[in-house]
């Protein structure tokens, strides 16, 4: 018998190929850059912020943007740029925590009901209908009103409503994948349902879910700052974009920068997530067979 050689011919790894294709796309490059910078700002605001975001300066109240204060100052003389930068920490956290639990729960539930169907699927369908009937924001506000304002309660409220959308998407994807013969092959090969769902069906169903997750993070920031604006999310004096816009709303004519600058931060981050999601939608689309 000949010795089996272990040396494989060199082929570029799948990951390397993917990265190469990704960075040849302007939308991916721009979105990726914005998000990486946002994450850096969220992780290390103390490095980037020129001033203490909470320090009052009664000698510099409501100053227009200048070299010393590029985004101006607010009605307590706090530096708006520093407050916007510190707000990255809260808002990026919202993007993650308001979606990640919904994603985990929704994908798991959706995968099971999509795979097994039957009575569980029917019950699930009715629950989804019930939740989707309510306008998203109204339902979240109602739940926060019951639980009380604050970030953690806001995450809980958003998760309660939001998992449904992930579950619905996952269910449909799993049902499509399940119709493929490789799922039947898995059963004939004697694999357990868990193995078929998590090792075979779900990896093939994940692309649209990840794309949706990206856009959903943008939506989560919008929703979180809306609640912050309404006083139901992050609480002042914490810096959060919605809270900052709310603080500036009484001074729109005299100190427009107080509301405009955090608003631009929301737009920029939202744009980043959307571009990234859009680019991933193209990149993850299965290759022609």
């Amino acid at each position: 018998m000949s010795v089996v050689t272990q040396i494989q011919p060199h082929r570029p790894g799948r990951f390397r190929v993917f990265i190469g294709r990704a960075f040849s796309r302007p939308s991916f490059v721009i979105g990726f850059t914005i998000i990486v910078m946002s994450i850096a700002l969220a992780l290390f605001p103390q490095i980037f912020a020129p001033y203490d975001p909470l320090a009052f300066d009664m000698t510099a109240i409501q100053q227009a943007p200048s070299l010393a204060h590029p985004f101006g100052t607010d009605n307590f003389g706090r530096d708006v740029l520093s407050r916007v930068i510190w707000a990255y920490r809260v808002d990026m956290q919202m993007a993650l925590f308001a979606t990640i639990f919904a994603l985990t729960i929704g994908v798991t539930v959706g995968a099971f009901v999509g795979y097994y169907g039957g009575i569980a699927d029917t019950i699930f369908g009715r629950c989804v209908d019930a939740i989707i009937t309510f306008p998203f924001l109204v339902l979240v506000i109602a739940i926060v009103a019951v639980l009380g304002p604050g970030l953690v309660n806001m995450y809980i409220a958003i998760t309660i409503v939001n998992w449904v959308y992930y579950a619905r998407l996952t269910r449909a994807e799993i049902m499509t994948q399940k119709a493929n013969d490789y799922a039947a092959a898995g059963r004939v090969l004697g694999y357990s349902d868990r193995r078929i769902i998590f090792r075979h069906l779900l990896p093939n169903a994940m692309s649209p879910i990840i794309v949706y997750w990206m856009t959903d993070m943008a939506l989560a920031i919008l929703l979180g700052s809306s609640l912050g604006y309404l006083g139901l999310g992050a609480q002042p004096p914490a810096a959060e974009w919605g809270v900052l816009i709310s603080e500036g709303r009484n001074f729109l004519l005299t100190a427009w920068w107080m509301s405009l600058m955090p608003g631009l931060a929301i737009v920029l981050t939202g744009l980043g997530f959307s571009l990234l999601g859009d680019a991933l939608a193209d990149l993850l689309r299965p290759k022609g067979r």
Partner: protein, 337 residues
């Protein structure tokens, strides 16, 4: 049913009175009007024995229940009634370890080369998973076995670390064969294994299957609609019509002298290679009746040129005719004609 035990050896698989009915979903208006659910009868009392190490061809029109039968045997569908026995043990509704043990012996290969392999797994991942779930090999022996399997199905070196989309249809079907063989099964169910492939590639795959069968002593159920192909590969052939076997017999005998009028019509419908033979009347008149509404009596009587009063009332049973068996009241007189 003692006529079914004419064969001397014990059958590997024996199928008795197998039926499979699917309930169609009722529309809202049907539910309100109280109309009953429509039932699709895909299989209506299939009786069939599969002998060890033989190739049994199963032929029939589209929608006659060939694939349903294959899937019932592989354990993908649970039949509504009847029994499938493998080496004497019933295999209906097996669960857990028993089902795994059965499927280790009886494997299936699928029709569509494009959807039957997980697109996100390399060939090596696919084969390794099957081998390790069933503990066919351990450790480094797994990789040696993978090389062996790929060699067996004649895939080029280096194929192991490629993804399905890098292969042609014929190569993918050979990966499917390798995956089935990785469990070292006794019986292979090939559901339209090559019907999605080009004719030249079909020959390669089919000849590979025949060679493997010879070398490994496999029993093969070859489900197909291509009659020439079935004739080429099968020792015995079963003709299925509307979910029931109408004729079964040794391949040569059945193809040279079909006994059942449906088999005759099916063979006559196959295009001839002789140009002089071109202008023939269609062998079969009428459409295949809907499996929602199977005719009473002989299911073939609405299309049969020889149908008599008896055919409309009494359903013929499979009985020995010539070298095989046929389910026709007038098999002797018709085939003599």
């Amino acid at each position: 049913m003692n006529m079914l035990t004419m064969e001397p050896a014990a059958p590997l698989l024996s199928i008795r009175d197998l039926s499979m009915r699917f309930a169609k979903n009722r529309s809202l208006s049907d539910t309100i009007a109280g109309r009953p659910r429509q039932i699709v009868s895909a299989l209506n009392g299939v009786d069939l024995d599969v002998m060890p190490a033989e190739t049994l061809g199963i032929v029939g029109e589209s929608g006659c229940g060939k694939s349903t039968l294959a899937r019932c045997i592989a354990g993908l569908h649970r039949p509504s009634s009847g029994d499938i026995r493998f080496e004497g043990e019933s295999v209906i509704g097996l669960k857990g370890a028993n089902r795994r043990a059965y499927n280790r012996r009886v494997q299936m290969m699928f029709q569509d080369p494009y959807t039957s392999l997980n697109p996100r797994m390399t060939v090596r991942d696919t084969l390794r998973e099957a081998i390790s779930v069933h503990r066919m090999r351990e450790g480094a022996a797994i990789d040696r076995r993978i090389d062996e399997l790929l060699d067996l199905v004649r895939l080029p070196e280096g194929a192991a670390d490629k993804y399905p989309h890098e292969f042609s249809g014929g190569q993918r079907q050979r990966i499917g064969i390798a995956r089935a063989l990785s469990l070292e099964p006794t019986c292979l169910v090939a559901d339209e294994l090559v019907s999605a492939l080009d004719v030249s590639v079909q020959a390669q795959v089919v000849n590979l299957l025949l060679e493997l069968q010879d070398n490994l002593g496999l029993t093969v159920l070859f489900v197909a609609h291509d009659l020439r192909l079935v004739r080429h590969v099968s020792h015995r052939v079963a003709v299925i019509y509307l979910g029931a076997i109408v004729e079964v017999g040794p391949s040569e005998a059945l193809f040279s002298r079909p006994r059942h009028p449906y088999s005759q019509a099916l063979l006559a419908a196959a295009p001839s290679l002789d140009p002089a033979d071109r202008k023939r009347a269609p062998a079969l008149s009428g459409e295949l009746p809907s499996p929602l509404d199977i005719p009473p009596g002989c299911p073939f009587h609405v299309r049969c040129p020889h149908a008599a009063e008896r055919c409309r009332i009494e359903k013929p049973m499979l009985r020995p005719v010539g070298a095989g068996m046929a389910a026709c009241h007038f098999a002797e007189t018709i085939s003599a004609a």
